[in-house]
């Protein structure tokens, strides 16, 4: 029945603290070549701690086995298809990892003299230029650490510009299909949020937008293609409406992987946007980070970008700190440089034509999945999709199986689940994004698994509702975890 996986043996492994025994060690330090210092004298006896109570004590082989065994309890892109919609789980090329570890770059100190950091600055300048070309924008800052951080930077830029024009305005408009970070960001930037309902076709309702936009509106935050995977066909018109009232258009670039080489936000009226380098540009998610969230802007917003900015004087790059209109820093130093290296390596490897091909493959894969699955699942929005497709669990729910249960059963078939219950405008959403990484064979296996589970729902819904059955951990009790939080280990 199950084509792809059979369970493999994983070993039990206690927590580090349970493994510890006094006196074991995994470290080596060289002999001290200077005289010892009395800690109590140097630091004040009251400032010196007795010990780090509870800290682990293990040998080197125990340490490597510990982490290796734990690692086998994870699913990963390296194991198979990871079709999390909106998260863009594409292959993470290993050359990127090696590039980021190049010694002179990995060991560069952010305060080393600029004359001795030219290689770093060159990498950053090259990436800035490439991202400006890809997005069709005029200037890029690489400082933000992740997508949500980029959003905050972008909204603060808008706020600074509007303030300079005399009125920062009061609210940000956000479609009901948006990522949760959008409203959270607007709130942190001091704005009220007004939700706008999507149209019946799952896109921005421009007529409704026209009614709402007034002098109180600072910006519209829109994801394009949106979280249904549908291109916002009226985006240019929306930009005109906003600009007509002195408001700005912010684009969440989480789905930029559907557009690279095909269309550029700068060409369809976007004033400011962020990119997630850990999505579109293949840097690894690493179990939840690090990311990088560069922000690209039109000329009018450039003076407000975070300081410092890269500047070329003669043949040398330098940091320009004298930026009187800057919103200030959003992060110490210059950005997640190690992530920036990886993204540039990806861009260099693909080149212009390769990036465009990746976009086309990503969209082809998603459209193919849609075509092959639409007979089995409810498709609430019929508009053409791009890099992802969102079904609902409508038909399966009739048998008492919800999207979350269905997703858990996918695990038994050797796939990571799709994104569950998002976007919120689709009840019981099943959001599938294959990325360009997957070949036809893996995708067909995924499709077969989806169809097979849909049949199980008809014949044996209980089997699906209690999945996964083949994992090391069975269904995890998240309710108890939240009700009685245990957030650290303590000795028994």
């Amino acid at each position: 029945m199950i084509d792809k996986v059979t369970p493999h043996i994983t070993q039990n492994e206690p927590l580090l603290f349970e493994r510890s025994s006094p006196g074991k060690k995994a470290y080596q330090l060289p002999e001290l070549d200077v005289p010892e210092v009395d800690a109590a004298e140097a630091l004040g006896a009251e400032n010196v701690r007795a010990e780090i109570a509870g800290f682990p004590e293990v040998s080197e082989v125990e340490a490597i086995r510990h982490f290796t065994r734990l690692s086998t309890w994870n699913f990963a892109i390296d194991y198979g298809m990871y079709p999390l919609g909106s998260c863009t789980m594409k292959y993470n090329p290993r050359i990127n990892e090696q590039a980021a570890r190049t010694e002179g770059l990995a060991w560069a100190h952010p305060y080393q003299p600029e004359a001795l950091a030219q290689g770093c600055l060159e990498v950053m300048a090259t990436l800035e230029a490439a991202l400006a070309e890809i997005t069709g924008m005029d200037a890029v800052t690489l400082q933000p650490a992740a997508g949500a951080h980029g959003e905050l930077t972008g909204i603060l830029l808008i706020r600074a510009l509007l303030e300079k024009r005399g009125n920062p305005r009061k609210k940000i408009l956000i479609p009901d299909s948006a990522h949760g970070t959008n409203p959270a960001t607007a709130a942190i930037a001091g704005y009220a949020i007004e939700n706008i309902k999507s149209s019946e076709t799952g896109v921005l309702d421009v007529a409704a937008l026209e009614q709402i936009v007034n002098e109180d509106v600072a910006a519209l935050m829109v994801t394009n293609p949106n979280t249904l995977g549908v291109f916002e066909n009226n985006i240019a018109h929306a930009a005109e409406i906003l600009h007509g009232k002195g408001a700005m258009l912010y684009m969440d670039g989480a789905n930029m992987n559907a557009l690279v080489g095909i269309a550029r936000p700068g060409d369809f009226g976007v004033d400011v946007m962020h990119l997630n380098l850990h999505k579109t540009f293949s840097t690894p998610h690493g179990g939840g980070g690090p990311g990088a969230g560069p922000v690209a802007v039109k000329k009018v917003l450039e003076p407000f970008l975070p300081a410092p900015r890269l500047k070329k004087s003669g043949k040398r790059w330098a940091w320009d700190y004298r930026r009187k209109h800057s919103i200030g820093r959003v992060k110490a130093f210059y950005g997640n440089f190690g992530v920036l290296i990886r993204a540039l390596a990806y861009i260099l490897a693909h080149g212009g034509p390769g990036l465009r091909n990746a976009t086309m493959d990503a969209v082809l894969n998603a459209v193919y999945i849609r075509k092959r699955l639409e007979a089995y699942f409810d498709l609430p929005y019929q508009s053409p999709n791009m890099h992802e497709v969102v079904f609902s669990d409508d038909r399966q729910a009739a048998k008492g199986v919800r999207t979350g249960d269905f997703a858990k059963r996918l695990i038994d078939y050797g796939f990571h689940p799709y994104t569950v219950s998002f976007p919120l405008i689709v009840h019981g959403a099943m959001m599938i994004e294959p990325t360009e990484t997957e070949g036809k064979r893996e995708i067909d296996q995924f499709i077969d698994a989806m169809i097979s589970i849909a049949k199980e729902v008809e014949t044996d819904p209980q089997l699906v509702k209690t999945a996964p059955h083949l994992t090391r951990a069975s269904r995890v009790d998240e309710t108890t975890a939240a009700r009685k939080p245990i957030l650290r280990w303590k000795p028994a």
Binding site: A42, F67, L105, H109, G287, G288, G351, G352, L355
Partner: protein, 431 residues
């Protein structure tokens, strides 16, 4: 596949995009290059850096040895190429290591709970301030001038639009520690948080207890920031702090020209619900075995949207894992031994130089020395200290130096030969 999609070419899949928005030319980027060429490209860039130089820079980013095990573990595809562990059943590896990370951060800081990481130390500071605002219902923050200057800049950026006034208080010119009288003056009953750093930006161990008393007397929380995590191997964490916001770069995270690093926030149990960021918690699976999952997500943006405690989503999981492996490798004895070596090296170098402040210091210190010595040292492939005039005009004749276990005695002697302290004048003895 094209046939199944009902098209003849992939281009047709984009026909529904309005003509006007479609790019009508190829991207102006060079064609792709091979793996070998990419390696060479970055090696060439690295040739135009400080490769081969010894460095005595600290100031929030430290040169510590990275045990080989760290990259061995984080290079495993299971950790490297997995997403945020929302699907607990197939993410127990990541979740267990986060739980261990949270535990070790609590053990190090003496706090009750710690989150799964923030972007870095600098962004952890405004997050801690906003947390204090939520916890106290007050709106104002005071921050010491000897907190890392770039961290303060980030705090000001975040605070500006939130109706969160930020005021700075001074440091004592003699000791380099916070000026308690100035702190007392800047306090009022609307203050939500007092933010100090220990060891502070000048490397001086702060008077945390005294600051806590002043903060608590006015109903404010004390936020203690750290940038040099190795100091926690030997320094007593302050039991009177309410929130600890720190940077773990010292724990096997490459300097990497400023990032990616990993920040943390740790706090008291009673402030748990105000904490930003992800948390892993212990529970059981349906067979009754111990298991872990992300928890208390009703604080977070994907559930609470505009009412969330923070907008943070992606954090620094893999970097936090580096720190976890580092803490495991060094362990209880090793971290202390490492801290002792740092202390010894710094005191060896500082002992030969003209110290600006009298406060107790760990592995960084401010010396009076003209910027010109850095030029001399560069000729010998040594990067000297950070000239402080750029951040503190009153310290324009001073620089911040750092010595770690990586600092060689010969290099330190060389620095001393360029910047030795003036010969001590015979002092008059007052009977």
């Amino acid at each position: 596949m094209l046939a199944a999609c009902g098209v003849n070419s992939p281009e047709e899949l984009f026909q529904h995009l309005p003509e006007a928005v479609r790019l009508d030319r190829p991207l102006d980027l060079p064609p792709g290059i091979s793996e070998y060429e990419i390696v060479q490209y970055f090696r060439d860039r690295a040739g135009d850096t400080a490769l081969g130089y010894a460095s005595f820079l600290g100031a929030g980013v430290y040169n510590h040895y990275r045990p080989v095990l760290v990259d061995t573990v984080v290079s495993r595809g299971e950790f490297l190429t997995s997403y945020t562990p929302y699907q607990a059943e197939i993410s127990q590896g990541t979740l267990t290591t986060i739980f261990e990370f949270q535990t070790m951060i609590c053990q190090l800081t003496g706090m009750d709970v710690a989150n799964a990481s923030m972007y870095d130390g600098s962004t952890a500071v405004p997050e801690a301030a906003m947390m204090a605002v939520r916890a106290t219902g007050k709106g104002r923050v005071v921050v010491a001038r000897n907190v890392h200057p770039e961290y303060r800049e980030v705090l000001h950026t975040y605070a500006k639009y939130q109706g969160m006034p930020v005021e700075e208080f001074g440091y004592a010119s003699e000791t380099g520690g916070i000026d308690l009288e100035d702190l007392e003056r800047k306090m009022d009953d609307l203050t939500a948080a007092v933010i100090i750093q220990s060891p502070n930006f000048f490397g001086i161990v702060e008077q945390v207890k005294a600051a806590a008393e002043i903060a608590h007397k006015r109903g404010a929380l004390l936020v203690v920031v750290f940038t040099e995590a190795v100091s926690l191997g030997i320094l007593e964490p302050c039991p009177d702090a309410d929130i600890v916001a720190g940077e773990l770069q010292s724990f096997a995270i490459s300097p990497s020209y400023g990032g990616p690093y990993a920040g943390i926030i740790a706090t008291r149990e009673k402030f748990l619900r105000q904490m930003p960021g992800r948390l892993a918690g212990q529970t059981t699976d349906s067979r009754g075995n111990r298991a872990f999952c992300l928890t208390l997500s009703t604080r977070e943006q994907h559930i609470r949207r505009e009412k969330a405690t923070s907008n943070i989503c992606t954090n620094q999981a893999l970097i936090a894992l580096m720190a976890t492996v580092f803490m495991t490798v060094y362990g209880k004895q090793g971290l202390r031994e490492l801290a002792r070596q740092n202390l010894a090296k710094a005191h060896y170098l500082a002992g030969k130089l003209d110290l600006r402040f009298s406060g107790k210091y760990f592995n960084e210190f401010v010396v009076r020395a003209p910027e010109t010595i850095n030029k001399e040292l560069l000729k010998k492939k040594i990067i000297g200290g950070l000239p402080l005039g750029r951040f503190y005009p009153e310290l324009k004749d001073c620089m911040l130096l750092c010595a770690t276990e990586m600092s060689k005695r010969a290099d330190m002697d060389l620095i001393a030969s360029h910047a030795a302290k003036p010969q001590a004048q015979p002092q008059e003895v007052i009977a």
